[in-house]
């Protein structure tokens, strides 16, 4: 299988498993225990905290380990609410943010969803204009999971600071692919996930800047400075930190991946017909390509590619549980028919040039076959590529 769905999840690295293994067996202690077994586990997670903090230029005391991106996002959004609070977010956030915001609205709070331009970028001026007296939080993702658009977080951070409003960013997709530094970005909170960076699933963290008065979601034994009760996922945390160490060493990989991605985009756009790139070329994650192919539907495209040994994803309604097309693609102005025909290819460290060549060889045939089946495709079947 040629795996081109790294924004969904990544294969865990062998080194990560090796680092985790002792914490299932000989180093199984509970970090809260006073004896030596506990101490051993405590030391390990504090070291992991340092590693994670260093990666994002943060103070280790600000790292709260969680079960992953979704929990971190929930915690950030709910933790600052007062009576009838107002939150500002964007129209293209991950469901972990959008669904939480809907739930918060039901609880009697207000949420403003700022739009994005055709490239999927938020205008900081729109964020500033939305700030009200009861605004407690701005939450804008660092990079979008579908089209890879990178948001002007640093600029929004300056605005937030000037208005004394806290800023949270969901950096689940950006960590490991572009520089992420909490001071450069001017953020007060930042969500991270381990399984998007070749670490284990079920673990992540929320960075919380000192002085941010957050209320916990989970109550209990007062773990993680009282912000996240529950015995720490020690092996997961160790794996997460090991994954971080490896992506720091591997950062140059992004240049290589970007070249492959660019070849993919350039070739698809220049050799295939009735196709568009969703999102802009600039301000885009180096591993993301997202196309819309006219006249065909994304789920059947993904299934066809899967049968050819290629793993990809789509923003088509038919692939979602709600049978609605991607809110991100609609937000950047796509009509629903083009949103149904979307294909996301997200590259990773295991992809080689041969993989991209194979995709470029297979994709035109797969698209052509589906177009021939489509009543929307009225052209005769003479040639689907521009140059033969």
């Amino acid at each position: 299988m040629i795996y081109l769905d790294h924004s969904a999840t990544t294969p865990m690295r062998r080194e990560v498993l090796d680092a985790m293994m002792p914490y299932f067996f000989e180093k199984f202690g509970n970090p809260s225990s006073l004896h030596a077994c506990g101490l051993e586990a405590r030391r390990a997670i504090e070291e992991a905290r340092e590693t994670v903090a260093r990666k994002i230029g943060a103070d280790a005391t600000g790292i709260i380990f969680t079960s992953g991106g979704t929990e971190s996002d929930n915690m950030a959004l709910r933790g600052l609410l007062k009576k009838r609070s107002h939150i500002i977010t964007s129209a293209i956030e991950h469901p972990a943010i959008l669904e939480t915001c809907k739930s918060i609205e039901k609880d009697g709070h207000e949420v403003t969803y700022v739009p994005v331009n055709r490239d999927g970028i938020v205008n900081p001026g729109d964020v500033e204009a939305a700030i009200k007296e009861n605004t407690v939080l701005i939450s804008i993702m660092h990079a979008n999971n579908e089209i890879g658009s990178i948001q002007p977080i640093s600029e929004i951070g300056k605005i937030a600071k000037a208005h004394s409003v806290s800023l949270h960013t969901d950096a689940v997709q950006s960590v490991g692919k572009i520089p992420v530094d909490v001071d450069t970005l001017n953020v007060d909170m930042l969500s991270m996930s381990s399984h998007k960076i070749y670490g284990p699933k079920g673990v992540g963290c929320l960075y919380v800047r000192k002085g941010t008065k957050l209320r916990p979601l989970l109550f209990g034994g007062g773990h993680e400075k009282g912000l996240r009760s529950g015995t720490e996922n020690v092996s997961g945390i160790i794996g997460f930190a090991e994954a971080i160490k490896l992506i720091i060493e591997d950062f140059y990989e992004n240049e290589r991946i970007k070249k492959l991605r660019d070849k993919l985009i350039d070739t698809v756009l220049s050799t295939m017909e009735h196709v568009r790139l969703n999102g802009g070329r600039e301000r885009r994650l180096p591993n993301n390509a997202n196309f819309s192919f006219s006249f065909i539907e994304g789920e059947s495209l993904v299934l066809s590619l899967s049968a050819k040994g290629i793993a990809a994803s789509t923003g088509s309604a038919c692939s979602s549980k709600k049978l609605e097309p991607s809110h991100v693609l609609l937000a950047i102005g796509l009509d629903p028919v083009d949103a149904h025909g979307s294909l996301r290819l997200t590259l990773g460290r295991d992809n080689k040039e041969d993989d991209i060549n194979y995709v470029l060889e297979v994709l035109p045939d797969v698209v052509h076959r589906l177009r021939l089946m489509s009543p929307l495709y009225k052209c005769n079947d003479a040639g689907y590529g521009k140059p033969e």
Binding site: I296, E297, E299, S300, S316, C318, L323, M373, S374
Partner: protein
């Protein structure tokens, strides 16, 4: 998530294409919602002697289109009208609940093609032999 039978019909759909001078055409669905199905039938002596489909849609939409053409081919108009969405889903060894509407769509497209044929027959009864 799909049965092997659905995947089989999706990967190698039967009766895909169009018919020259069809006796009836049925088109249902809406591309805005992600699926559009077109079924063409050729009727001779009240029997569906040829049937073709074209579909814009997901794997289930394509598989149900393929299956309904198999089910309807060779049937009389009356028999074909009795084909239900459950027949389509069962013949495919089941569909995920969220995809049941695709079998609906396939049955509707067939029925629409038959209605179109009947309407045409009414208009041309004199020519009909």
């Amino acid at each position: 998530m799909y049965s092997d039978k659905v995947m089989l019909h999706f990967m190698n759909p039967h009766n895909m294409g169009e018919i020259d001078n069809p006796s009836g055409v049925g088109t249902v669905g809406n591309p805005v919602c992600g699926d559009l199905m077109q079924i063409m039938i050729k009727v001779e002596n009240n029997v569906i002697v040829d049937i073709k489909f074209k579909t814009f849609g997901c794997g289930a939409a394509i598989a149900t289109s393929s299956m309904i053409t198999d089910l309807a081919r060779g049937k009389t108009i009356e028999e074909a009208l009795k084909i239900t969405r459950n027949d389509v889903a069962e013949s495919l060894e089941g569909l995920p609940p969220v995809k049941m509407h695709c079998s609906n769509l396939a049955a509707d497209a067939l029925h629409a093609a038959i209605e179109d044929y009947k309407a045409k027959m009414k208009g041309t009864t004199k020519e009909a032999t």
